[in-house]
């Protein structure tokens, strides 16, 4: 394989002095400062968490959920497609026999470790059964112990589609 040499930026004397860059940066900062002091009604920064975002779109990838069939039973058939696609290797599934006559197989354990998850959405893309989605709109997930970041099958089933999103 050939190697392509890319010329580095920042080699000129002007760049190496840093001062011109700092001055131009400060200029932008001061301009915003003055504008916002004069009129703070349309600040872009929000006082989160008192002010919650209102601009989360339907395509936003939030915390996962496991979907249900029309008869309210779990859709997932424990095929491991999601776990196979997952680049973070953070889905822990154990399959078992399904005996309610709806299907043959289902997960006994379905854990997602949110601390390892990179929220890429590959699991949603990979699922052949539309059994996993990231449409809960949950963008913030807080806990004070590592183990509480591991979402179980029950927790994932309890999550629902965000009310703010349009119907499917």
């Amino acid at each position: 394989m050939g190697i392509k040499t890319v010329k580095r930026h920042g080699d000129t004397l002007r760049d190496k002095l840093y001062i011109p860059a700092i001055v131009s940066g400060m200029k932008t900062t001061m301009r915003h400062f003055v504008t916002n002091i004069k009129d703070n009604s349309n600040l872009i920064t929000k006082s989160y968490p008192e002010v919650q975002p209102t601009d989360i779109t339907d395509r936003y990838r939030g915390v996962h959920r496991l979907t249900k069939r029309e008869d309210d039973s779990i859709s997932c058939v424990a095929c491991y497609m999601c776990a196979t696609a997952c680049p973070a290797d953070c889905m822990f599934i154990e399959a078992t026999e399904r005996t309610d006559g709806v299907d043959e197989k289902m997960p006994a354990v379905f854990n997602i470790d949110l601390l390892e998850c990179v929220f890429c959405g590959y699991c949603v893309e990979a699922c052949p059964c539309d059994a996993i989605r990231m449409d809960t709109g949950i963008f913030s997930f807080v806990a004070d112990q590592r183990k509480d970041f591991i979402l179980s099958k029950e927790a994932l089933l309890a999550n629902t589609r965000s009310k703010d999103f349009s119907d499917d």
Partner: protein, 478 residues
């Protein structure tokens, strides 16, 4: 006189044996001809029509599993024509197939999937609702699960029970679209080789109940080994996996084609013996029932051995590899201890049959004999009464005979958690049969080598490494 003829395959001139089955010859050339019903162990049946090739001079494509090699034959296995034929046959096979790959254990090693991915890609022309339904998840007994909908009716399974085991449990019932594989009413599979039909079945119609839903096959890693279930030493694939945050674990054994030993199959007992490797393992070294570090146990053993070499009996077993046996034999020759390989407990006449299974349920007695390790009963009993120190190495003889240890100092090397542990003064865990490398000689004097692929989180030492450590500790003392 000459049996060699010249033929042309995909434009290449090659030599082949006259009269050989064309498909066999193509396999040997590493040309993968799609096929369902042909299997070298079961011969030609010609029912699936998947193995078509074009042969110059014949009007229509021919099935390569029923075509003998002839002088001057010109064969084409590729090209738009033949690939279209294959696609059409595959479409027929899939007409009533449920395509439930997500719940099917065969997914990842299924011929329907493979051939579809290699050349299918047609749009389905049948409504899912109009597919013919049949029974799913039928337990046929002997750890075999049947899904009639997934079957492609290749008859490999029925031919296996007819021609190989002669137990005739399986047959095809009903006609046309409604044909299904089943056992005769009220009957179950009974052969001790039944699980081979799981490997034979090219699709997910027959799957293993034991492996059911345990793993998806594409996660598994594999290495080649032999079965330790009896002195036949059948060649196997060991499928194992070290899952994230878990330890390396074996999920199944599969037979490995080996014409010097087992041919294509293995027995069910041997196949399920992978559980012995996972279960009931000895993990901690101990001295007088108190857990100690491996180092402490080694020092203790070295002390005992150097103090009483002439009063020590080493009892090895036919579960050890040739290399391990040779190492211990050499130690005995150099240090004046005595050595026995007495192990009658592994003989079980009821296990032997006229296919593969033998009456000696240990893998390396022939290797032990070749090293001239004495397994005579009288000699052993005499030594046992004389010697004060008994070193038991992977030998289960004392399992129910702990009373023989009265007034003796006992050192136990074991990979299994055994009762003998309670009567032993020093206990040292060792790597199990598949966790170490080594060679083994079967009852027909075939020597096979295992190179283990298992990587445990906290591996216990192999007998070889531990024994060498003991030897060097003893030397330091001397």
């Amino acid at each position: 006189m000459s049996n060699i003829v010249n033929i042309v395959i995909d434009g290449k001139e090659v030599e082949a044996e006259k009269g050989a089955v064309l498909i066999d010859y193509l396999f040997k050339q590493d040309i993968d001809i799609p096929h369902f019903c042909y299997h070298p162990a079961l011969g030609t049946d010609g029912n699936c029509r998947m193995c078509m090739v074009e042969i110059e001079g014949s009007k229509r494509p021919q099935i390569s599993c029923d075509t003998p090699v002839k002088e001057g034959m010109v064969v084409r296995t590729q090209g738009e024509n033949i690939e279209q034929v294959r696609r059409d046959i595959l479409e027929l096979e899939l007409i009533n197939h449920p395509v439930d790959c997500p719940t099917c254990d065969q997914a990842g090693e299924c011929k329907l999937q493979d051939y579809y991915m290699a050349g299918g890609f047609y749009e389905s022309r049948l409504e899912a609702e109009s597919k013919v339904k049949a029974k799913k998840a039928v337990d046929l007994g002997k750890n075999v699960m049947l899904d009639q909908e997934r079957c492609v009716l290749c008859t490999r399974c029925t031919r296996f029970t007819d021609e190989i085991t002669h137990t005739n449990e399986l047959g095809i019932f009903s006609r046309a679209d409604h044909s299904v594989i089943s056992t005769f009413p009220g009957q179950e599979l009974e052969s001790d080789y039944s699980m081979n039909i799981v490997d034979l079945c090219p699709v997910g119609a027959l799957t293993s109940k034991d492996f059911r839903f345990n793993q998806r096959v594409w996660f598994l890693e594999s290495f080649e080994a032999i079965c330790s279930g009896c002195s036949k030493g059948c060649s196997i694939h060991v499928d194992h996996k070290k899952e994230k945050y878990k330890d390396d674990q074996i999920f199944r054994f599969r037979p490995r084609e080996d014409h010097d030993v087992n041919g294509y199959f293995i027995c069910d007992d041997g196949r399920l013996s992978y559980k012995d490797e996972n279960d009931n393992r000895l993990n901690d070294a101990s001295i007088n029932q108190e857990t100690v570090s491996t180092k402490e146990a080694l020092t203790n053993i070295a002390d005992v051995l150097t103090a009483n070499p002439n009063d020590t009996l080493l009892l090895v077993s036919p579960f050890l590899s040739n290399e391990e046996l040779a190492l211990i034999k050499e130690y005995t020759l150099n240090n004046g201890t005595t050595l026995s390989g007495y192990s009658p407990q592994y003989y079980d006449e009821s296990f032997a049959d006229d296919m593969l299974r033998t009456s000696d349920r240990s893998p390396n007695r022939a290797g032990m004999m070749a090293l001239r390790i004495n397994e005579n009963e009288k000699d052993f009993n005499e030594l046992l009464s004389q010697k004060k120190v008994i070193v038991v190495i992977e030998n289960s003889y004392f399992e129910d005979k702990a009373e023989l240890f009265k007034d003796k100092k006992v050192i136990l090397f074991s990979s299994k958690d055994t009762k003998v542990k309670e009567f032993a003064n020093t206990v040292l865990p060792v790597a199990s049969f598949l966790e170490k490398d080594g060679s083994y000689t079967n009852s027909e004097s075939v020597t096979q080598h295992i190179k283990s692929g298992i990587r445990k989180n906290a591996p216990v030492g192999t007998l070889t490494s531990l024994w060498k450590a003991i030897e060097s500790l003893s030397k330091e003392k001397a």
